[in-house]
């Protein structure tokens, strides 16, 4: 099979280019469903968060959740998109056992949000703009459990009717990395807004991948849609696999079939869905149980004014205020909590040092412990205290790492740990001179080597002095005094 490299695939017959568009289904944060007053919490007992409306009992009617509308508008505004003051709910008709009405209420010809843009932060520090085609509101379906019984599928309607925003990108992405950056950025924006929690494991954010291959610069090829790829890692894997598969089909003289595929996470492959024996004909038409949704432009402006600072703006501010690299700033703003933590630490301190400590030690410790930033035993104030001790020379960077470990273990402030364990840096010239004199006296051979021009041996002496001082000697002073005494 061909290799993928930055989106270009070297096939047997030459290079191929990926064209990727993503459809993301984002579950709206809210208490109740789009058209019923049933709860939306995750993990409830089967069919316990289901109203008669969600179960499509005869004669039941939908009533729109105003909060869902506000959430969709908020998201649209954050995507720099056009808000359509008139939108229409339509019925998408198809039969599936977890679709109780026999149709999904969605928006089709007139979605609530039109074209917008999103800016990707790529790993090399560059950015790329990807177009948003539309955002529309729709109901989620229920859940089918296919593996509970040998001959039956079980249906739980708890999810039936929950508000989703379907966010459709333009086919503007050219690699798995860009697709991953798109989802990461979209997720970040949604979480800043509080319109979706972005939890991919619980299915609050689900992704369909549209992918086609073409010769560089040529017309678009036939695409496939791979459904419900439920982590950023899987999206990358699905794209890599599907791209290679399509190249192989094309290079073997075949044609890519336009079809819906499923990603098999266990095997890391995509496969055509088996239940597609007929072409879909969804027979969309405006839902006669609902009227057109008309928004007041002043209300939309109120929402716009209430938008929080979003990742791009915050990133720019961090670059300006703290002289961070765009890449470092991008990493720090991805989660609002991280950026808040960072700003609290960095304010009035060495911004680069603060960034290094946060992304290095704190992230490392969080990873090892599986904790979230909010639960970290070292909060912003404590980390700031530690950095202050480094800045004023009380402790060395090396000791600081030990202090950090102790802070993480005990939750105590840095100053207390340093005092308790007597870890203050020795910056007293006299004390260091005494240690240096002792070390030189103990190692006459090495001292001779230095004098005969072996500069490298100085490092060994530094190590000996630090060891003798239990790491507490000020390394700068040690260096200077050693040179003095050895020459």
């Amino acid at each position: 099979m061909a290799d993928t490299n930055g989106g270009l695939i070297q096939g047997k017959t030459g290079p191929w280019e990926m064209v990727i568009g993503l459809e993301v289904h984002a579950q709206v944060i809210g208490e109740s469903k789009l058209f019923s007053g049933a709860a939306t919490a995750f993990g409830a007992a089967p069919n316990s968060q289901v109203s008669l409306v969600d179960a499509a009992m005869p004669g039941m009617l939908p009533v729109l959740n105003g909060h869902s509308v506000a959430q969709a508008v908020k998201t649209g505004l954050a995507l720099n998109a056009k808000i359509n003051l008139t939108s229409v709910f339509e019925r998408k008709n198809y039969f599936y056992p977890d679709l109780p009405q026999g149709y999904q209420i969605s928006q089709y010809l007139q979605p609530i949000v039109g074209e917008g843009t999103i800016e990707l932060d790529l790993p090399d520090g560059s950015t790329k703009e990807v177009g948003i085609e539309r955002l529309h509101m729709e109901q989620d379906a229920g859940k089918s459990l296919h593996d509970q019984h040998p001959t039956m599928t079980y249906i739980d309607l708890n999810r039936s009717g929950i508000t989703l925003m379907e966010i459709v990108s333009k086919p503007d992405m050219g690699s798995a990395e860009e697709a991953a950056a798109y989802i990461a950025k979209l997720r970040s924006i949604l979480r800043y807004l509080g319109t979706c929690d972005g939890n991919m494991e619980e299915g609050s954010l689900r992704c369909d991948v549209n992918l086609s291959m073409r010769r560089p610069g040529a017309a678009l090829g036939t695409r496939t849609e791979t459904k419900n790829v439920n982590s950023i890692r899987f999206v990358k894997l699905a794209i890599e696999y599907e791209a290679r598969r399509q190249v192989q089909v094309l290079e073997d003289g075949g044609k890519v079939v336009q079809e819906t595929r499923l990603f098999d996470a266990d095997k890391g492959v995509t496969r055509a869905m088996r239940s597609k024996e007929e072409a879909h004909d969804y027979r969309y038409f405006p839902d006669p149980d609902l009227l057109p949704l008309v928004l007041d432009p002043d209300w939309v402006e109120d929402i716009r004014r209430g938008l929080p600072e979003l990742p791009d703006a915050r990133k720019a501010r961090l670059v300006d205020d703290f002289a961070l690299s765009p890449y470092d700033a991008g990493v720090l703003v991805a989660e609002r909590e991280t950026a808040d933590f960072y700003e609290a630490v960095a304010k009035g301190r060495d911004a680069k040092l603060a960034a290094n400590w946060l992304t290095g030690e704190v992230f490392g410790a969080l990873n090892r412990s599986g904790m979230a930033l909010a639960e970290a035993p070292v909060d912003a104030k404590k980390l700031g205290g530690l950095i202050d001790l480094i800045a004023d020379g009380t402790i060395s960077g090396r000791i600081a790492k030990e202090v950090f470990e102790a802070m993480w273990e005990s939750g105590k402030p840095a100053a207390a740990i340093v005092a308790d364990q007597g870890l203050e840096q020795i910056s007293d010239t006299g004390a260091i001179e005494a240690i240096v004199a002792q070390v030189i006296a103990d190692s006459p051979g090495q001292a001779e080597q230095f004098k005969s021009g072996n500069e490298k041996i100085l490092g060994w002496f530094v190590g000996q002095v630090m060891k003798a001082s239990q790491g507490k000697a000020n390394p700068g002073l040690v260096n200077r005094i050693l040179r003095d005494k050895l020459s």
């Binding site: 008669l52 005869p58 004669g59 004909d281 149980d289």
Partner: protein, 497 residues
């Protein structure tokens, strides 16, 4: 001396209300008489489910309230309910096999309002399957027979449809009033066939919540009664805003009864020239002319008006209604309630359930509806019909600049025999030619019994009003009713004549 049972079942809602108030009888006595009438009328097949125990319980509760000095607007009045309204704990069938065994755990908003008003439920009346029909012959539970016969002719006649069971029950004195639903004429046409009053309120006036949906943009609950006053009383109890129905309109419900009485002075009545159709029986034309004379006599000003797109209403309706129905009926899939016919796999289960669960007319309409919405046909059919609907609404809006109400015949023929017109769907659809335009425009309409045909069957006249102006419609209907003095009774009257 207590009144005879036949006297009780002959009471109108207003009459029963007065007799109950005076203590001439109890709600229980009235209910017992009506239960007996329902039993006696079984040959008509007007009821799918009788609920006598429930009726007696509700009647006793009503009597208790009255004793406690708490009297509600419909206190102790027995009613028959079209089996399209979901009723808590009472099976609801929509006249279909596909709802086999379905017992709603909820009560429709309209019936809930009736029970809160003190009314008593006698049972659930027969109807065309999913309200699709004008004859009541498409019910899975068998045809309803009209209580009327042509004198000297033993052939059973249809009561009209789809609220045929409700119309037959009221005409045969099984109940002083019933409720039905009207999508394209399903209250007004059977009322005309059965010689009673039937009213379709403005779309949005009565809640559709808990009513099995046929065509959501057209369906509207309404009353069937023997007098215009009773229609006003019943409508007053059914109407009102319901936050559970997004198309229910939040506007005050006037005192409809107070609108009745007086003459027609100062009112302008429109006579649409497009409702004069070739092939309409001369006696219907004559009755219409008679209606015009009555209203003129009562002081109304008569105006010739034009509703130019009338002839396109029926074909537009037969695109819009089946399209909505094809989607509304998708929920009957054998998964959550009702009939399930097994199959080798899920798709077969669906196809078997719906193939056996739906009758021929429902299948026909679901297929037509599926077709007109399908890829490539949507604009030519569905969108075209919606444009035509705009034109029809505009016709009425223009006309109501000039007139206060419009007078037309209700149906283009008298009741026909059971089994007639069954092999020609279009001939059947033509029954609704005069009622469908107002349905498409969402306007209120009423049918008033106005005379007998040459063969001795009732004929109705229809009045159409402005949106949410049921008061004028009822007022003019009262004038017509008084002028017509219709007092003919059907050949079959439960509990004797």
């Amino acid at each position: 001396m207590a009144p005879a049972a036949s006297e009780l079942t002959d009471l109108t809602i207003a009459g029963a209300r007065a007799a109950l108030a005076k203590g001439e009888m109890s709600a229980r006595e009235l209910t017992e008489a009506q239960i007996a009438a329902v039993e006696a009328a079984r040959p008509l097949n007007a009821f799918i489910t009788e609920t006598p125990e429930k009726a007696l319980m509700m009647a006793e509760a009503s009597d208790a309230r009255r004793r406690a000095g708490e009297v509600r607007p419909l206190e102790g009045i027995p009613l028959a309910i079209k089996d399209l309204f979901c009723t808590e704990g009472v099976p609801t069938t929509a006249g279909s096999h596909i709802l086999d065994g379905f017992t709603p755990p909820y009560e429709s908003s309209v019936t809930a309002k009736l029970w809160e008003s003190g009314a008593v439920m006698l049972g659930k009346t027969n109807l065309d399957e999913f309200a699709m029909g004008s004859s009541n012959m498409t019910s899975y539970f068998g045809a309803v027979e009209s209580p009327w016969r042509r004198p000297g002719d033993d052939r059973p006649l249809v009561p009209g449809g789809s609220s045929g069971g409700s119309a037959a029950a009221v005409a045969a004195r099984c109940a002083p009033g019933a409720i039905g639903t009207d999508t394209g004429g399903s209250i007004r046409q059977p009322a005309a066939f059965c010689g009673i009053v039937g009213m379709k309120p403005t779309y949005g006036r009565c809640s559709r919540w808990g009513v099995v949906a046929f065509a959501s943009s057209l369906d509207q609950p309404g009353p069937l009664t023997r007098t215009v006053r009773d229609a006003a009383i019943l409508l007053g109890a059914m109407a009102g805003h319901d936050p559970k129905d997004s198309t229910s309109v939040d506007t005050p419900v006037p005192d409809y009864e107070a609108a009745l009485g007086g003459d027609a002075r100062g009112l302008k009545i429109g006579i649409p020239r497009e409702y004069r159709l070739d092939g309409t029986p001369p006696e219907i034309e004559a009755l219409w002319r008679q209606g015009i004379e009555w209203l003129k006599h009562a002081g109304a000003e008569i105006r010739d008006i034009s509703l130019p797109h009338t002839s396109y209403a029926l074909p537009a309706y037969y695109i819009i209604a089946p399209a909505e129905a094809s989607s509304n009926l998708a929920r009957y899939d054998g998964v959550r309630y009702g009939l399930r016919v097994p199959g080798a796999d899920l798709t077969e289960m669906y196809e078997n359930t719906r193939g056996q669960g739906f009758g021929a007319e429902v299948k026909r309409r679901v297929l037509i509806g599926t077709y007109v919405l399908s890829a490539g046909y949507y604009d030519a059919y569905y969108n075209k019909a919606r444009r035509v609907r705009s034109l029809i609404l505009r016709d009425f809006t223009d006309a109501f600049e000039e007139v206060d109400a419009i007078l037309t015949p209700t149906a283009p023929s008298e009741a026909f025999a059971v089994g007639e017109k069954m092999d020609d769907p279009i001939a059947m659809y033509l029954n609704d030619v005069f009622t469908v335009p107002a349905s498409l425009a969402g306007l209120p309409g009423i049918s008033v019994p106005a005379g007998l045909s040459a063969s001795g069957l009732p004929l109705g006249l229809q009045l159409i009003g402005r949106a949410f102006d049921e008061e004028t419609v009822l007022k003019v209907a009262g004038v017509l009713e008084e002028a017509a003095g219709f007092d003919a009774k059907p050949q079959f009257v439960a509990g004797g004549r």
